[in-house]
Symmetry: D2
Subunit: 141 residues, 4 copies
């Protein structure tokens, strides 16, 4: 029996998610690639994303990573929800920087998955590392 039969493709799922995702659209996220368990997203930092130190707010890198996690984890066809996430901010992010988030699927079990997401800037410097654990439901997209 083919468990993937009738399931939407990664592109169909992410298109459906992105259409409704007002916040990711506000951030200006652009999906460069999407496959099962893998996603690459870019974002250009704008003035409205600055914090009290005149650099990008930590919530921006987190938000980019969290969307990337959601897309990678949901791409298999079943709805998945973030349980626990952590992020280390390694380098300052400035206005006009272009960030790129790439995924590494560390583990994909039946019930849970673990993804690492690296965020780099236009000079290929690592600005943040994110780790996310998701719960994989049986609800198809």
């Amino acid at each position: 029996m083919d468990h993937t039969r009738g399931l939407k493709t990664p592109k169909e799922i992410i298109q459906k998610m992105m259409e409704k995702d007002a916040y990711s659209n506000w951030l200006g996220l652009e999906v460069l690639s999407i496959e099962k368990g893998s996603c690459t997203i870019t974002c250009e930092i704008k003035e409205i994303m600055q914090n009290g130190f005149s650099i990008a707010h930590g919530g921006i890198a987190y938000s980019i990573a969290d969307t990337t996690l959601a897309f990678a984890a949901n791409s298999y066809g079943y709805q998945s929800f973030s349980i626990e996430t952590s992020i280390s901010h390694l380098r300052k992010v400035q206005v006009k920087d272009t960030l790129k988030a790439t995924t590494n699927e560390i583990h994909r079990g039946k019930k849970t998955g673990v993804y690492q997401i690296n965020i780099t800037n236009q000079d290929d410097e690592l600005v943040a590392v994110f780790k996310g654990t998701v719960y994989i439901s049986k609800i198809p997209w």
Copy 2:
């Protein structure tokens, strides 16, 4: 010798930070209270903050917590920077919910501090728990 002499007060620092913090202003964050090592912030969830599941994007709760962390940690008068943060999303957040972030200063050493931040909704239900570790610099505000 009084090391706090000449340092700005918590209110002066947070006013200065908030003025420049374009993103926290976009989120509509409102500071209810600020003291040394302690901060309470509220935020009303808007449609623009939704993700692909039509609930608040995980980045919103993270961002509220991250600003609250920054304000609590910087309130002593010295610039402090987030090193490592984690958040567990426990309950769905809907449009029109009003979130409240409150701090618990777990540890304040010479070089580092650890803060836990609870985020509750208007029904006093816990929607997320956040833990943040900061590096405390010797740069005064």
Copy 3:
């Protein structure tokens, strides 16, 4: 229908777990109290637990917390497994210190639970904070 009917009590479960738990016995863990979702454990630090800095190895506080997490999470009668855990080491632990781990059940859902565990020493100083997320199975003890 009573879902707890026929399930073992917290004390029965922890007795069964502790009997087989060779490592927790080696650590000398003593369970002070156990109830549904709550557990308190103490441990006296021995020379064999030291690291290269002549203080307790970070793995000792983690191990005490991890056993405490397991006992609190399994006490409801269903087998639960740790998914993600983090610990902040806040204060040095010395040989002959007596540590006490206490639980705070932050969240108990159908599939997952989140527990915070504080570890204090004999002077009631916080030496470490631990957060653990568990997956709750349907397998009864």
Copy 4:
């Protein structure tokens, strides 16, 4: 000016740390390689390391990773201390398994460093991923 002049070599430092590290010796840790910012350690799982589920206690994988972190971070010549660590347990570890911990230095700043440590078994399966943040002091070994 050469800041590394007079500093001990990685091998000298780790030999000094390992000699005093009673707990890592009890675990039977064997250092396969040590260089600046990088360390590989193996450990064979023994019966005394079992928990209440008759598999290796989560504290064992954590302890192996924590020693590996300490050795990699201290190898540059300055004493470094763990601030925050997290571990995801991905696969059961059985008695007689041989675990191998390898480091990935994600970030090495002036004050802090971030290391990822993968733990694999004898079949090259990933059993746990660990992330550790350290504070780098100015105290030479």
